[in-house]
Subunit: 225 residues, 2 copies
């Protein structure tokens, strides 16, 4: 398991080094490849973790992760503060070791900690929603543009990517020396996620063609390395 | 989106109804199909969410979800309390709506809230680890049994499944009536996860055959519906 370069007082980043730049790129690459985020907040009732769509934009200190929707709304209401943890994980395989103690998964994950801020301005909100909607495929431009009422009903939150760290495990199991010659199998079973053949809604109006962005998504690797 | 039957004062379950039994089965089916859990705890530093392996066992009020490893350990140390939220999500597809406001994902998810308790007795710990290790495939019996030292180094936590809820979205997008005849495509791009061809560790001793459990996993659907 490769530990991430730390990234804040909580995760202790050393800014301005090549290592920090590398780490930022690595975080961004994992976030770009992920499909959903698990967002945690603290409520009066204890921690809660919910799956949410997300997108990223910006560079360097201006980089941010955006989340949205009814869930974000409920979280804002439920949580005393907007302190959040956003975790994106891609599982790449099951690591079968010679002893169960060393069984593991190959994975790429990013943990973002920070304060979520609501984006209120309708134009900024629309731009942010565009980013979230196009995270998996560029489907925004072929849809009906959002109305003022759509925007009013949608809550978009932004969290800076300044306090983020990545963790990656890949390769073979690492077993105890004493087990290396034992009669125990060791290896990896890879896991891949693939977008299937897109299918039109049963109530789709006649004569509406499938957008190029959707055609291109079908059959592609959902979480490329 | 189908809302789960609530399950506690926090999620308000009505016990003893057929609906509650159905809900318990649905929760268990989703947990059995999931690959990893995202576990949230509250620390002095705010919420934190980490990916972890898990397993489930038991029925009815005795049903529990088990998590383990170094991460659990760090969480125990970091968290003031053992109040946790364990979320398992399976993404089944991208839902492309006529308007971005209705874009969504098809998914199955379970949210478990509760108090995590450490399992200390070595024999009970071994049994619990067996459950976690065999969650994806029965790889425990072909590995070297855990040593007393392995068990000492491993922390296993149990959380009752009494306070759990499931949420499932499937099917076509639901758009605004006014958009139904517009020139906008709508449909679903399915997402599937598949275990690939298992490969042996490069340092595997000669003459050790791949276990049947690993052979059977290769090529199978990781998250069957």
């Amino acid at each position: 398991m490769t530990d991430a370069q730390p990234a804040s007082p909580r995760t202790t980043m050393r800014r301005g080094t090549d290592r920090a730049v590398y780490e930022r790129q690595r975080i961004r690459t994992i976030l770009d490849a992920g499909v959903i985020a698990h967002v945690g907040v603290t409520t009066d009732d204890g921690p809660i973790v919910l799956p949410m769509a997300y997108g990223t934009r910006g560079d360097g200190d201006a980089a941010e992760i955006l989340i949205h929707g009814a869930l974000a709304n409920a979280m804002l209401k439920a949580g005393r503060s907007l302190d959040v943890c956003i975790t994106v994980t891609i599982v790449d395989g099951l690591v079968v070791a010679r002893s169960p103690f060393h069984n593991s998964m190959n994975y790429r994950s990013v943990v973002v900690r920070g304060t979520a801020t609501a984006i209120d301005d309708p134009e900024e909100k629309s731009t942010a929603l565009h980013v979230i909607n196009d995270h998996i495929a560029p489907i925004w431009d072929t849809a009906r543009p959002p109305s003022a009422s759509d925007l009013k009903k949608t809550l978009v939150l932004s969290v800076p990517l300044t306090e983020a760290s990545a963790k990656v495990r890949d390769g073979d199991p690492i077993d105890d020396e004493a087990d290396m010659d034992g009669p125990y199998w060791a290896g990896v079973v890879p896991l891949t996620s693939t977008w299937g053949e897109p299918h039109a809604a049963s109530d789709l109006a006649d004569g509406v063609d499938m957008p190029e962005s959707v055609i291109a998504l079908g059959g592609s690797d959902a979480q490329p390395t």
